[in-house]
Symmetry: C2
Subunit: 163 residues, 2 copies
């Protein structure tokens, strides 16, 4: 059962993709694959570290087109149900240690579901839950919907290029 | 292996008690038992709701000696390893939804370990991890050490009275 969506706090993205739940799950949890798609080009993921257990580190560093490294994002996993669900947050880091309020001014919990479709492929369903309405609004204004769609399309392209 | 303690962010309490890990675990996770010891008398726990799964609700309402009900504390469980470990937080609530910054001005993650001792009884080990040094200092000044010791002694007395 899906948890309720609160429209003033949550951003939601639903996209049907020609990938299996296993491919989506691996794309999100294998650092070598994640680095190839997670950031809309010409930005890129310069570093990624993943310790796939509850309380395990999920860390990445973004790099600008000019080569500038952004501050490290350090989060952790909350729930792992391979290959259909993955919940992580930047509000807590390794071993569930609370993170300081992030530079962007908002934290969130990302609840991902990868559900197989009868006709093949999967439904990618992300619910991104923010601490307050301002955080949700900032994230939305930063281009959440476009950015996450673009990144996801890069994962699809990556798999198509491997065929 | 125990995670590192950060002295500027964490409060730690280690107490050896004449209870089994199972009794400690049940004391922390059975609402009917928790209500009898969790709050140092003459305060009490007026309501307690527990959904013992990762992301499940851990809620309680304290009541003053004059009968005044405090705001509900809504948290959730992060890690459940019955009967030796329990991690919960008030930074997130049900279904890992982020909580607003709490009224007290600080949030924390509570990491509990219940380890059997060779001579009988158990070692109760709590590490309470705060978002920032101010939060840790506030929690300490509120009487963390004395309050948690007193509550724990109430759980021990409860079991002794049942013998």
């Amino acid at each position: 059962m899906n948890p309720p969506i609160l429209s003033h706090l949550d951003l939601e993205l639903i996209v049907d993709v020609p990938l299996t739940p296993e491919q989506l799950f691996e794309g999100w949890t294998n650092p070598d694959i994640l680095k190839k798609w997670f950031c809309p080009k010409p930005w890129k993921v310069a570093q990624c570290s993943i310790d796939l257990r509850p309380g395990g580190l999920f860390s990445n560093v973004m790099q600008s087109p000019e080569g500038e490294l952004m501050p490290e994002n350090r989060g952790c996993y909350l729930l792992i149900e391979k290959p259909t669900r993955l919940v992580w947050t930047g509000i807590l880091q390794e071993d569930f240690r609370p993170n300081p309020i992030p530079q962007l001014g908002f934290g969130f919990v990302c609840d991902l579901r990868f559900t197989p479709l009868a006709q093949g492929g999967s439904r990618f369903h992300a619910v991104v839950k923010h601490t307050d309405t301002e955080g949700k609004a900032k994230h939305e204004a930063m281009g959440f919907d476009q950015g996450w769609r673009l990144a996801l399309s890069q994962l699809v392209e990556l798999h198509q290029s491997l065929r």
